[in-house]
Amino acid sequence: MMSVFALESRVPPTDCTTQAWYTSDMDVMQAVARINELLESDMGQTSNTSMRIPTALRDAAAIAVRELGAAPSTTVLTTAALRERLEAVVMHAVLNDHFSRYPEKRPSLGDLAVAAAELDGHPLAGEPARIRQAALEVEARHPDAEPEDVLLWAEARAVPAS
């Protein structure tokens, strides 16, 4: 199995000034387990980092914190966003592993659109057949459509023509 680090981190980019603090031959699920362990561990310990981010992004974050109250500090804003992203990466890795074992269990666009309707309390949530039909229609023309696109189409189709 390919290491998750293989794609991005094993060879540091040329503008990276930090030596890698790990060497890894982990497979994906070992990496997931380690990331989960780290995400669950004490977040009170902090480290200074030489991570370089675009200056404009840093300044935009500072304004968002100061003027819009987006978070108590840019550090909180950054770490919260990083945590959400890491959690998403882990979840996708685990789901992809699951789908490789059970390919027939991969949700279709229709399944995801029904789930989106249910999570959002969409008016069509109680009409899964209508949503699944809309998914088939959308997918035929837009293979990369999102569940929300399907709901929009289903809703538009549900409106009686005047």
């Binding site: 997931v32 992203r85 998403a88 882990v90 979840m91 029904v114 249910e118 999570l119």
Partner: protein, 137 residues
Amino acid sequence: MTHLIVLDNEAVQALSDPSHKKHVHVLSHVRLVADRKSRGLSITVVVPTTVRVEAGWDRTVPAWAFLNGLRIGDITLDGWNANIAAGIRQDARVSVADAHIGAVIQVATAWKVTVITSDPGDIRRVAAGKEVNVVTV
């Protein structure tokens, strides 16, 4: 501004067992959560610890590795929540796990709470008027 998604026992069972007839349904919700997290939305899946007890979900047992990897957080039943759950159990005549779900709903600070459940009636009862989005599996 978090959307909190709470799993009940049936949702846990369905998610853990690929042969369960509702597996893909619950899995679709988890996949959607992962997609929305990727887009920067604050959304999280949790399980009350009493639901874990009911479902037999021991995080140290390898059989539960799939669910353990999905970032489904525990909501423990501390003393404060136990008081609330005790009242709910008395009033609504529900299981300890459902009373715990009720306590989670009632004290949640999330902007939206969704419960994925096989028993929507019980969940609405334990919510006791607090707004909750109920997804039936």
